[in-house]
Each structure stands twice: as structure tokens, then as C-alpha cells.
């Protein structure tokens, strides 16, 4: 069974981003970049499936500029077998990425595509579902547990009210939530080995996909700042403030 894992290059989760003074976006100059944390969980899950003997090959795919190779190397160091970079300097939106991945899937014929549930930059949470729609296959978002048996995937999903279990025909698209697993650290020997693993390059045009952004960015602004508060000395003072100053509890 072949597994594809799409990975995204994003600002490192520990970086606090700043909005550019001209409101044209966030400042990404000299900012540390990393593999999107949810994509990392997706890679880990695919590698575990291979270690269990369920998957036979794990293919990492990224769509973006040349430097996305760094994140593909991270995926290879975590245990993916090979990588595909779909190179483009254009700003790609989720629907474009889903179309590119659909074209890859048409060639690769994977049984399972594991996505991160969202990326921590744009917070869209769309690509996995869009891919599943274009490929006409089943989907399970917010996966907390994934089991493959008898040609089906059983997925426990984190939903608003608790946990939901669904069964999917394969091929299927699954999007990884936080508690699906805890990704391993890539060991130094594996990082070295990853440098020799195959990385193919292609482009949206070669795959027959036209990049067509539908949304334009008008402006980006910092969020409203909260006023600094006060430190109270006692529970009694706190209750008094809540009743008489903030008036959020009945006095």
C-alpha cells in the first residue's frame, strides 16, 4: 500500500510573527521556517504504517518554491522513502494545491493520502477535503486514531462533542489532528541518509494544472491589543472588582 503525505513549509511554530508596517502581509524576512507541525504528524503516521508492515512506500510531496526541499528532506529524515517537489514561485491557494495533488495522485495511485488538518500560517484547513472531493474519494478530518484493515480505514475523529468513529473505503484522504501521534526526532544518521533519498522535481504546468488564485489579499493588520490589566492581592478583591468594576457577575 502506497501512502502520499503532502507537507507545507511554514513559519516555525515558536516564531511570533509581525505584521509589516505597510499592511501588505506578515514579515517573513530572516524568519525560521519549518515543516508545518500537523504535516509532521501526518508523516509520522505514514512512517508508522510502514513500520507496521501496512504501508509499503511513503511519498512526501510539497508544492511551492525551491526551498520547500528543506521540508521534504525533513520528511525523508523522518522516514519517508522519496519526495516530489512541485516547484512554483506563484502564491498557491488550497484549491490549486488540491488540483496539483490530484494530478500527482492520478500518476501515483496511492491508497491513502495523509494531510495535516491545517497549516499554522494561513489556518485554512481546506486542502485535504478539497483533494478528496476532486479525487472523488472518502475523507476523514481531525483524525485522532487511524487503523487500516480489510481494505478499509477506520478513523476516530475529534469532533465538537467528543469522538466520532467512521469507516472509509480506500483510497481515502485523512487529515491529522494533534493527538494522532507524537512525531519522533530525526536521528543524525537518518538526516544523513535522507540526503541520498530520491527527490523528483516537476511543476504545476508539467502536471497540467493552471495556478489560478481566487482570493486577493487586501491588507493584513495586527489584532486589537488588550489593555494591560491589574494584579489583585486577594480573592476578595478579585470578586469585588468583578462585581463592581467589570460588572460581569451579579453583585
Amino acid at each position: 500500500m502506497k501512502v502520499i503525505v503532502p507537507v507545507k513549509r511554514v513559519v516555525d511554530a515558536n516564531v511570533k510573527v509581525r505584521v509589516r508596517p505597510d499592511n501588505s502581509g506578515v514579515d517573513l524576512n530572516n524568519v525560521k521556517m519549518a515543516i508545518n507541525p500537523f504535516c509532521e504528524i501526518a508523516v509520522e503516521e505514514a512512517v508508522r504504517l510502514k513500520e507496521k508492515g501496512v504501508a509499503t512506500e511513503v511519498v512526501a510531496v510539497s508544492v511551492g518554491a525551491t526551498n520547500c526541499q528543506e521540508q521534504l528532506r525533513t520528511a525523508l529524515a523522518l522516514g519517508a522513502d522519496r519526495a516530489i517537489l512541485v516547484e512554483t514561485d506563484e502564491a498557491v491557494q488550497p484549491l490549486d494545491i488540491a488540483k496539483v495533488l490530484k494530478a500527482i495522485q492520478d500518476k501515483e495511485q496511492a491508497d491513502l493520502v495523509i494531510f495535516g488538518k491545517q497549516s499554522i500560517d494561513d489556518d485554512n484547513g481546506q486542502t485535504g477535503q478539497m483533494f478528496a472531493a476532486l479525487a472523488g474519494i472518502a475523507q476523514a478530518t481531525y483524525a485522532a486514531e487511524l487503523t487500516i484493515s480489510d481494505g478499509k480505514a477506520t478513523v476516530k475523529r475529534e469532533i465538537d462533542g467528543g469522538i466520532q468513529t467512521i469507516e472509509l473505503n480506500l483510497p481515502a484522504a485523512v487529515t491529522a489532528d494533534l493527538r494522532l501521534n507524537e512525531p519522533r526526532y530525526a536521528s543524525l544518521p537518518n538526516i544523513m541518509k535522507a540526503k541520498k533519498k530520491p527527490m523528483d522535481k516537476t511543476s504545476p504546468a508539467e502536471l497540467g494544472v493552471e495556478i489560478k488564485p481566487r482570493l486577493s489579499l487586501v491588507k493584513v493588520e495586527p489584532p486589537a491589543e488588550r489593555q494591560a490589566g491589574v494584579i489583585v492581592d486577594s480573592v476578595a478583591e478579585l470578586v469585588d472588582k468583578l462585581k463592581n468594576e467589570a460588572k460581569v457577575i451579579p453583585s
Binding site: V17, A133, R226
Partner: protein
């Protein structure tokens, strides 16, 4: 212009997030219709017809929609929605599950978790866990949107008298099936719509200790939430998580107890009107967003607060 709102519900009750979504729809303008897809969901359709501002309710009552499976829902919504200028769903786990699928079927973009409507094509949405607010403009003929409840007031549950129309179109993609659900039952208000939220973090020390929060929650009619650290530690179930990847809340009063205030937690609650933090670590980042901070051992302060209320 006409807006289709997809109702979020469990076949017996309409989720309150749908009311906030209707408000977003009325801000966009034009006729507002609500699609109720489910099984034995007549009560939900009646409730939807009473929402102020809704002119038409469309009901697709069939076993195929009983569990809101994305494959079936998306086929139905794309079919019904192609005649509308906007398709809106609440940014709940249901809405976020099927909306991108609908957008792809219609070959349009999806705009996630809007918190503001500028005009019929232009919307405001948080990016980078709420550390920046983006204004985006869509060039698509149909806008598929998910709506973050905290950005919009709830529409009135009474006052409307929409017509109710049955749809007989059945889409069963046959790709997935519902196996079961473990849902947490609670008599407390729902986390995302409660006026008061009391949340515990890793500082609570154990799942049992969360019972300490019950007294305060009872007295304030509050929902109980948790930080990701408390959920990851297994103290409480995932549906209680407040944060970037959990629930986004903006109550009148948010009381954070034993929560340090990681960026991803702040992303889920920093739009609350009044924030109270109780933590024994005076350096905890939560104090930087709190209106009232109390540096204290929660195991002493919480029972004292319970007494004082």
C-alpha cells in the same frame, strides 16, 4: 444576491453557532435560506424557520444525511448551493469538514473562519493563530465561507416565519460510513456560546481536580474548558480544549486557572470581554492578557473563590 446557510445540528437540536452564521449572512445581504440536512430532523427545521432574518428553510430528510458525512453533505450542498451567491456554514467540526469539499466540487475557493464582513466579496479572517487579521477579496461567482461564531452576535431565535420546503434529492456517495460516537454529556452551557467560561490547565494536576471548578461553574452558570496541556495530559476529553486548534471562545468572563497562557491557548480566548487569571507563577504569559490577575496557589484560591461567590 442570496445566501444559503447550512444548519449545524444533531437531528434534534439546532447548534447555536448556526445563529451567529445567520447574522453573518444578513450582513452580506439578500435573501437568507437555511438548509437543514439530516434524518428525522423536522424539529430542527421548525427551529430554523423561526430564526429572525431567515426567509426560507430547505429540508433534506434522509438517512444519508443522518451523521453529516462529508461526502454526502457536500454533494447535496453543491447541488442546492449552485443557485446562491454565498454558501455559509458555522466553523464547527461539521462545517469545516464539508465546506472545503463543497467549494472544490463547485471549483471555487473557500474562505475559512471569517470574523467580519466588509462587503459581499470581502471578508476579514484571522491568520497565524490570530496574530494577524487578513482582509481578503474573492473573485469567485459563488463564495463558500465558514463563519467563526465569536465574530458575530447570535440572531434572535424567535421572530422569523420562514417557509419550509422539502427537498427529495438523496446523495449517498457510498464512500464512508458512520460507526459510532462517544459524545460527552453535560448539563452545562455549551463552551462556544456560554457567557462565562472557567478553564483549567496543567496546573490542575489531575482530572479529578477539575471537580474543584464545578462549584464556581455552577454559581456562574459557566461552561468548563481546558488548555491543550490539560487535554494532552489526559485530565479531560478533547472537546473541552480551548485554543487555536480547539474551540474558539469569547465569553463575557473567562477565568483561566492554572493555565500558563501558551500562544495557541491565547488564540482561542483572547477576544473574551473580561479575562481573569489565577496562577502561582507570576511570570506566566497569561497575566499579560488578563484584566485581573491573582498570583496564588489555585488549590487555595479556587475553594476561596467558590465560597466568595
Amino acid at each position: 444576491m442570496s445566501v444559503l446557510v447550512i444548519a449545524d445540528h444533531d437531528n434534534s437540536e439546532l447548534q447555536s453557532a448556526t445563529l451567529n452564521t445567520v447574522t453573518a449572512a444578513t450582513q452580506i445581504g439578500g435573501d437568507v435560506s437555511v438548509l437543514v440536512a439530516g434524518s428525522d430532523c423536522g424539529g430542527v427545521a421548525e427551529a430554523a424557520a423561526k430564526i429572525d432574518g431567515v426567509s426560507k428553510v430547505l429540508v433534506a430528510d434522509n438517512a444519508a444525511y443522518a451523521n453529516q458525512l462529508a461526502e454526502n453533505m457536500a454533494l447535496l450542498i453543491a447541488e442546492v448551493g449552485k443557485d446562491y451567491s454565498h454558501i455559509l456554514a458555522a466553523a464547527t467540526t461539521n462545517g469545516k469538514n464539508y465546506s472545503p469539499r463543497v467549494a472544490a466540487l463547485l471549483d471555487v475557493a473557500q474562505i475559512s473562519e471569517i470574523t467580519g464582513v466588509v462587503d459581499a466579496d470581502t471578508f476579514v479572517r484571522p491568520i497565524y493563530a490570530g496574530n494577524a487579521m487578513a482582509t481578503v477579496k474573492s473573485s469567485d461567482s459563488i463564495k463558500v465561507i465558514t463563519v467563526r461564531g465569536t465574530g458575530f452576535d447570535a440572531a434572535a431565535q424567535e421572530g422569523g416565519s420562514a417557509t419550509v420546503e422539502s427537498l427529495d434529492s438523496v446523495h449517498d456517495a457510498g464512500l464512508s460510513s458512520f460507526v459510532g460516537a462517544e459524545l460527552v454529556k453535560s448539563d452545562r452551557p455549551e463552551l462556544t456560546s456560554a457567557k462565562v467560561v472557567v478553564s483549567g490547565g496543567r496546573g490542575m494536576g489531575s482530572g479529578d481536580n477539575f471537580k474543584l471548578l464545578d462549584g464556581i461553574a455552577d454559581k456562574l452558570n459557566a461552561a468548563i474548558g481546558a488548555s491543550r496541556a490539560a487535554v494532552d495530559a489526559g485530565f479531560v476529553p478533547n472537546d473541552m480544549q480551548v485554543g487555536q486548534t480547539g474551540k474558539i471562545v469569547a465569553p463575557d468572563l473567562y477565568i483561566a486557572i492554572g493555565i500558563s497562557g501558551a500562544i495557541q491557548h491565547l488564540a482561542g480566548m483572547k477576544d473574551s470581554k473580561v479575562i481573569v487569571a489565577i496562577n502561582k507563577d507570576e511570570e506566566a504569559p497569561i497575566f499579560q492578557v488578563a484584566d485581573y490577575g491573582l498570583v496564588a496557589d489555585l488549590f487555595e484560591a479556587v475553594p476561596e473563590l467558590d465560597q466568595a461567590l
